[in-house]
């Protein structure tokens, strides 16, 4: 009987694995000590031959190798010659909101309408997405799930990528509101016989006026002691009282200057620019106003044919050198499945000027600071969550990014996926031929 039960459980497990994500791991049981690795802290510093100890999901020790710190009941992992990194963070992501781009039924990223601050990404986040599980083997362990579309797209939340459901997954609920700044240029509608090129958006000032009016109305609504029912305005409250970050998606220089001026006029406390292609021309303004940047995908081409061919590769360097807090985002074409390449976006910034530890900050501590989760995530510091991984080599280079173990809040997570299963299944098929 017992044996049959075991069989049934095994069968169930197998069939379950066949269609869904890896089973989330339970709470950390044993204290883990990672010994001898090069520890990349995430704040710019690096420790050779380190010791990293964590218990109950929390880092207890991060420092020089000291045998005295290791208890006999510790699970000791020898990682000499290997590297430990804090889990990478992908902000401004639609992971779990779309499964397959071309299958409309699987798309949940963009609601209709223009003013959607009340739209919350979190509740649509699919923890069982097959795409999400492919992030982890490359070290991407946390994500800010962000809706798209409209003038105000909605509200994002920050999740960890190994969970049964969105309530398990969330580490910061409704962290910010995302707004798309009006474009200075609009594209001609080719299907209406117009030149498909870009022409000046004549309604730019009008669109800013609309935004201003919307914010003013939302503010006075929330100032009222007994406001009537207005879900969108209510959702805006956090932006005014400093509980939510205002993420302004904007690329061009003038838009950036206008957006900064707007946020000052509106007295918004936490402002982050997303995309920010031309932020490199306004670094002083951003620094002066304490505005940080989620920089657009590094692996893109320049907007214009006469720009430096490597401009997207070196933007991070320019911003970092100017003292702007920068993290990397990856939105755009093929963004979900490509998010596992986040470490290599950071690696590219090294080829174009940053140090490896600076580049690492762009996808760890800087991202955590910008998303407001740095008290617990983003670096290997005592007291923070043990969300980290061990890589056999330099994790920012695809040549050497090879994960051995990964942990979220101390839980050792599976590095398998739908893809690794297929790999093994067919490798075995040919091995036996």
């Amino acid at each position: 009987m017992k044996r049959i039960n075991t069989y049934i459980i095994a069968l169930l497990t197998i069939s379950f694995l066949g269609s869904a994500q890896q089973t989330p791991t339970p709470q950390q049981q044993n204290t883990v000590a990672i010994v001898g690795a090069t520890a990349h802290i995430g704040n710019g510093s690096v420790l050779e031959n380190s010791l990293v100890i964590f218990k109950d999901g929390v880092l207890q020790y991060v420092g020089a190798h000291d045998e005295g710190k290791i208890n006999s009941d510790n699970e000791v992992i020898n990682a000499s010659g290997q590297h430990v990194y804090p889990g990478f963070i992908i902000p401004n992501s639609t992971l779990g909101l779309i499964e397959i781009d071309a299958v409309r039924a699987s798309d949940d990223d963009s609601e209709i309408g223009t003013w959607n601050p009340h739209i919350r990404s979190l509740i649509a986040y699919n923890t069982e997405s097959k795409v999400v599980e492919t992030m982890r083997p490359n070290g991407v362990l946390l994500a800010q799930i962000t809706p798209r579309g409209g003038r105000i797209s909605g509200t994002s939340s920050v999740v960890q990528l190994d969970a049964w459901n969105w309530e398990d997954a969330v580490i910061k609920v409704d962290d910010g509101i995302h707004m798309n700044w009006p474009n200075s240029f609009s594209r001609g509608r080719w299907w209406a016989g117009e030149d498909p090129g870009l022409k000046i958006n004549k309604n730019y000032n009008g669109e800013i006026q609309e935004l201003t009016s919307y914010f003013n109305n939302a503010r006075v609504h929330n100032a009222n002691e007994n406001p009537g029912l207005n879900l969108p305005f209510e959702a805006m409250k956090g932006v005014f009282d400093g509980n939510k970050t205002l993420y302004i998606h904007v690329d061009d220089e003038k838009g950036i200057i206008d957006a900064v001026a707007f946020s000052k006029t509106q007295n918004i406390q936490k402002v982050v620019l997303v995309g920010a292609y031309e932020a490199y021309k306004q670094t002083a303004l951003l620094k002066e106003n304490g505005i940080s940047v989620l920089l657009r995908r590094i692996h893109t081409r320049p907007e214009k044919s006469d720009e430096d061919y490597d401009l997207p590769f070196k933007l991070a360097k320019i911003l970092v050198d100017a003292g702007v807090t920068v993290a990397l985002e990856a939105s755009g074409d093929m963004e979900r499945m490509n998010s596992r390449n986040l470490p290599f976006y950071a690696g590219t910034t090294v080829a174009y000027g940053l140090s490896k530890e600076q580049a690492l900050q762009l996808i760890t501590l800087n991202a955590a600071k910008i998303l407001g989760i740095d008290a617990h995530y983003g670096s290997l510091e005592v007291g923070k969550s043990a969300t980290l991984f061990i890589s056999k080599g330099d994790a920012l280079d695809m040549r050497t990014n090879h994960l051995k173990n990964a942990y979220i809040d101390g839980r050792k997570i599976s590095l398998e996926s739908h893809q690794t299963k297929l790999w093994k299944r067919y490798s075995n098929k040919y091995k036996n031929q």
């Binding site: 499964e99 397959i100 781009d101 071309a102 299958v103 097959k130 795409v131 200075s184 240029f185 594209r187 080719w190 030149d195 498909p196 090129g197 870009l198 022409k199 000046i200 061009d252 220089e253 003038k254 692996h299 893109t300 081409r301 214009k304 044919s305 006469d306 430096d308 061919y309 490597d310 074409d333 093929m334 979900r336 499945m337 490509n338 596992r340 390449n341 290599f344 690696g347 590219t348 090294v350 080829a351 920012l396 280079d397 695809m398 040549r399 990014n401 090879h402 893809q419 690794t420 297929l422 790999w423 067919y426 490798s427 040919y430 031929q433």
Partner: protein, 995 residues
């Protein structure tokens, strides 16, 4: 001006309404005029190069009887004294749509495109319309005619500007007073063609320029077949097409690139088109000269951009700014290179801008004589009509009388005569009152300047240095002046009227005051000084600063094309891709474009030494699946488009070529898209940045064609439900059908029987004969298996499966079939059929022994293919050498070019990349990229390019600001975004779906 014109019209138009002499007359008696008209005392341009001072033009019945000097004037001649003014032959516009309304676009219903034709008894494709004759719908347009006459045009060759074959044009004289009987010089003048579809049909094919080319080619074959009497049915289009074959063939190419495409089609069928250019021909004038075609050039030079707002100006592409600067010199470049050209008003928003633009071209170096030829004798010659465009004896009496050089801005056109009909714009004999005058009254000295055009003078008036508002009008021999009083508190108007005096240049007349009183006043004309306007003209004509043309003529272009060098790379880590593997501390010598030696301590006397210590030298990256550098990618109008070829639409100026070089890519296969089961033929090119499209094509290129399977060819992801196939089951049968027909076709052809040339089946027969290889877009295992089985039934092999994301599921079958794989490193999840795509695919295929490549299908990823190769190590554990081969030697093998490229081996092409670091590392940068020994990318030289771009941008912005400041009209900044091409991109469409 207009008023004067109207006024004079009534009086001066002594029009003889020419009624044909055999028409009955019931309203009176026949009154035939047999008099002559003699224009005497004229500077007579019989042709642009035969100019007679003090000449006489004798005309009768709308024809030139005699022209020249010392012409005997018959007694019954009306004599018109031209007073030393100039007489020019009327201009001819040979690319006109005058009087032929553009048809309305048909509106369609339904979501699916229309695949079949709308007509019966005509060609199968609605865009072939040789049977439409301009003359059938011609309706004289008096308003346009007047503005044409005013610009100097007297004759136009008009046509129906609609369709790929547009039928015959009509040669029309712009005779305002006559009837069509007088106006129509020829109702069958030239056959017009283009690459643009008709708006009168929604038939989908062709959706691309290469489809347009293929359609034309097929039409020529079909017309020949029909002419020989082989067709069993009637085709009114082909009949018209064959009957139009004796006409001049005029191709509305509209751009430099399309001009070359048109010429390539023409050459194939022994037809020399006259080509409408696009104004950008100067960018590669030698390729244009090589066409041997005569050109019709537009003069729609761009206005300067309004760059006052620096943010907006920053968005402007350097290329657009350069166009503004360089385009007016296009006609001059034609003149310099001795290429025959005519000028046209085509492309202008308003005909009235024409002469201003021609003047601009002259200011940019075009000689006035050439300009005149381009408007008279050249079109006459091209249209094979020697009675237009000159004033020789026996020609049409179509001419203008002008105050001077017809292209000068201050010159007035007084009269325009068309076949005896006389249109008067200004009084030939009225006195020129322009100049400076002084007069006194009320103790003040007034100074008046009359300037501008003679028939439309302008006035400025100063009283003791205070500027007064003032206007002047001349009505024949009366001059009227209106001006305000000096008193600034109370502004009164004063009027002055004077009759022009024949003997004195002063103006004497009556001055009327505001209170009704008046006094006599004489305006004393000053001695003639240097005309202010002519000085201004001179300034304008000053040598314009024209930026030099680079190759390509955009950013990162070369002033002079780089050449192959003898180079010695010393002490490199050399990835040979041969049995030697990776050699450290090794030298590589390249000479005459080839790899000359590999070894240690190599010596060469004249080689340039490159220290490669600490660096890696590899063969150039080869991208098996690219869509950059092409003007179109998909011909989606049919389920098979084997007849089209990407080689026809290479865009050598795409900046992505340079960007690819910066990522170490040297060779790419530009594949047709995946819109249909049988796609189009590929182009394999080397990225020789700066060379012309033709020179990019790989020498003795193996022949390839793109096939496609799955969701794209089923049209699953957009609302199209009409075209077969809609299922994978149908895809198989599509192939069965086409290959069976191709087999029968080939058998018939080989048997020596007469056969109708079918370009599509020709290409498919090449596949059956193993002369052309298939690279097939594929995702899921069932369809991959299916295509291999279809091929096996027809006794050939599939060469490559591209994408092949489920290749790992049928790797053993692929190996048995002998097909290669060209895949993505890690893309998936963008559509349903890539749900099982895994990044381990390449490694598994490689392990099983399938020749495996990693491609980009993406203009961004292609410049990082070294990193994509590294992922085959990460996912699945391929060796680093094997991984490197996936982007070099293996694609070379798949493309059958590994005898020349793909590895570092003595005798192979010196297509090399010098990397700063391990080439599979994210930290590696290509420092130099060479093709056949020529350095096309150099990271140090790139810094120079950047400086030049900055300098050119700043120079041009300053020039445009200056132009605006001078009062020139500007245009708003806009960005002509080049389309990014992917597998499913159609022409003129922005489509961001992938693969």
């Amino acid at each position: 001006m207009k008023k004067i014109q109207l006024l004079l019209m009534g009086i001066l138009c002594i029009s003889t309404a020419y009624a044909q002499d055999y028409f009955p007359k019931n309203d009176g008696v026949k009154s035939e005029i047999t008099n002559y008209t003699a224009i005497i005392n004229a500077k007579l341009y019989i042709t642009p190069t035969k100019v007679i001072e003090n000449g006489t033009l004798l005309i009768k019945d709308g024809m030139v009887v005699r022209s020249g000097k010392n012409i005997q004037i018959p007694e019954n001649s009306e004599i018109i004294d031209a007073n030393g003014n100039s007489v020019y032959p009327s201009f001819v516009d040979m690319y006109s749509t005058f009087g032929v309304a553009k048809p309305k676009r048909v509106n369609g219903s339904g979501r699916s495109p229309q695949y079949g034709p709308s007509r019966e008894g005509f060609y199968w494709n609605d865009h072939i319309r040789p049977e439409q004759n301009a003359i059938d719908v011609f309706k004289f347009d008096e308003k346009t005619a007047k503005s044409m006459l005013e610009q100097g045009f007297g004759v136009v060759n008009t046509h129906m500007e609609d369709g790929i074959v547009r039928g015959s044009g009509a040669l029309i004289a712009l005779d305002l007073d006559g009837t069509d009987a007088n106006r129509i010089i020829s109702g069958r003048s030239g056959q017009y063609l283009s690459f643009s579809k008709s708006v009168q049909s929604r038939q989908s094919y062709p959706t691309s320029i290469m489809g347009g080319m293929a359609l034309l080619r097929q039409l020529y074959h079909d017309a020949d077949w029909y002419k020989k009497g082989n067709a069993k049915t009637t085709d009114r289009s082909i009949e018209a097409f064959n009957s139009n074959s004796d006409l001049v063939q005029i191709m509305g190419a509209g751009s430099r690139a399309n001009a070359l495409r048109a010429d390539a089609v023409g050459d194939q069928f022994g037809i020399q088109y006259i080509i409408l250019g696009g104004g950008d021909e100067y960018e590669r004038i030698n390729t244009i000269k090589n066409t041997n075609a005569a050109f019709i050039l537009p003069v729609n030079f761009p206005k300067p951009y309004d760059v006052e707002n620096s943010f907006l100006a920053n968005k402007l592409e350097l290329e657009s700014m350069k166009e503004w600067n360089q385009r007016p010199s296009n006609p001059k470049v034609f003149e310099e290179h001795n290429i025959k050209f005519a000028l046209t008003t085509n492309g202008l928003k308003s005909v009235s801008e024409f002469k201003t633009h021609v003047k601009n071209a002259i200011n940019h170096g075009l000689s006035p004589t050439k300009a005149l030829e381009a408007l008279t004798t050249v079109p006459s010659q091209l249209l094979r009509n020697n009675k237009i465009g000159n004033l020789q004896n026996g020609s049409y009496a179509n001419f203008t009388i002008t105050s001077g050089d017809i292209f000068e801005t201050t010159t007035s056109i007084y009269e325009h005569w068309i076949r005896g009909s006389r249109t008067v714009f200004g009084d030939l004999n009225s006195k020129d009152v322009r100049g400076s005058y002084t007069f006194n009254f009320d103790n003040s000295e007034y100074k008046l300047d009359i300037s501008g055009k003679k028939e439309a003078p302008k006035a400025t008036l100063k009283a003791d240095s205070l500027k007064l508002s003032c206007s002047v009008k001349q009505d024949k021999d009366w001059v009227y002046l209106l001006f305000t009083s000096k008193d600034t508190l109370q502004q009164n108007f004063m009027r002055f009227s004077a009759k022009v005096n024949e003997t004195s240049s002063n103006l004497s007349g009556i001055l009327n005051f505001s209170d009704g009183s008046s006094q006599n006043l004489t305006l004393i004309k000053a001695e003639k000084k240097d005309d202010k306007t002519s000085e201004k003209e001179k300034k304008e004509s000053e040598a314009k600063t024209i930026l030099s043309v680079s190759y390509p003529n955009g950013p990162y272009g070369f002033d002079k094309l780089p050449e192959a060098e003898t180079l010695l790379f010393q002490n490199a880590t050399v990835w040979t891709n041969e049995n030697d593997g990776i050699l450290t501390h090794t030298d590589v010598l390249i000479k005459d474009g080839k790899i000359a030696a590999i070894g240690q301590n190599l010596k060469s006397k004249n080689a340039k030494i490159i220290d490669a210590t600490g660096k890696h030298l590899t063969s150039g990256i080869i991208d098996e699946h690219s869509h950059i550098a092409a003007a179109s990618i998909n011909e989606a109008g049919q389920n098979s488009s084997a007849e089209v070829s990407i080689e026809d639409v290479i865009d050598a100026d795409d900046v992505n070529i340079y960007r690819n070089l910066s990522g170490g890519v040297t060779t790419i296969q530009i594949l047709h898209g995946s819109a249909n089961p049988i796609g189009g033929r590929s182009a394999i090119i080397k990225l020789k940045w700066g060379e012309s499209a033709k020179n990019l094509i790989y020498k003795n290129s193996p022949k390839f064609i793109k096939f496609a399977l799955g969701e794209n060819v089923k049209q699953s992801n957009w609302g199209s439900y009409e075209r077969f196939p809609q299922t994978r089951m149908g895809v198989e049968q599509t192939y069965m059908d086409y290959f069976s027909r191709a087999k029968a076709y080939d058998l018939k052809k080989k048997s020596g029987q007469a056969y109708r040339v079918d370009l599509e089946l020709e290409v498919l027969a090449e596949i059956l004969n193993k002369e052309r290889f298939i690279s097939c877009h594929s995702y899921v295992q069932s369809e991959i298996n299916m295509l291999m089985k279809v091929a096996e039934r027809f006794n050939f092999n599939i060469n490559t499966f591209t994408h092949i994301l489920e290749g790992y599921k049928v790797a053993d079958k692929m190996k048995a079939h002998g097909v290669g794989a060209s895949t993505f490193s890690d893309w998936w999840a963008y559509k349903y059929e890539v749900n099982d795509a895994i990044p381990y695919n390449a490694a598994i295929l490689n392990n099983v022994g399938v020749i495996t490549a990693i491609n980009s299908d993406d203009a961004e990823m292609s410049r990082r293919l070294n990193q994509e190769a590294a992922k085959a190590v990460k996912y699945g554990g391929a060796s680093e050498e094997d991984a490197w081969k996936m982007v070099t030697l293996n694609p070379a093998k798949l493309l059958h070019i590994d005898d020349k490229v793909g590895s570092i081996k003595v005798g192979k092409d010196a297509d090399l990349v010098l990397w700063s670091n391990h080439p599979l590392s994210i930290y590696a940068k290509a420092e130099q990229t060479l093709i056949e020994g020529t350095t096309y990318f150099d990271i140090a030289r790139n810094q120079e390019h950047r400086k030049n771009i900055t300098t050119e941008r700043n120079t041009l912005i300053q020039m445009m600001l200056k132009a605006k400041n001078k009062g020139m009209k500007t245009q708003a900044v806009k960005v002509n975004k080049k389309q990014d091409m992917h597998c499913d991109t159609l022409d003129h469409e922005q489509n961001h779906n992938h693969n």
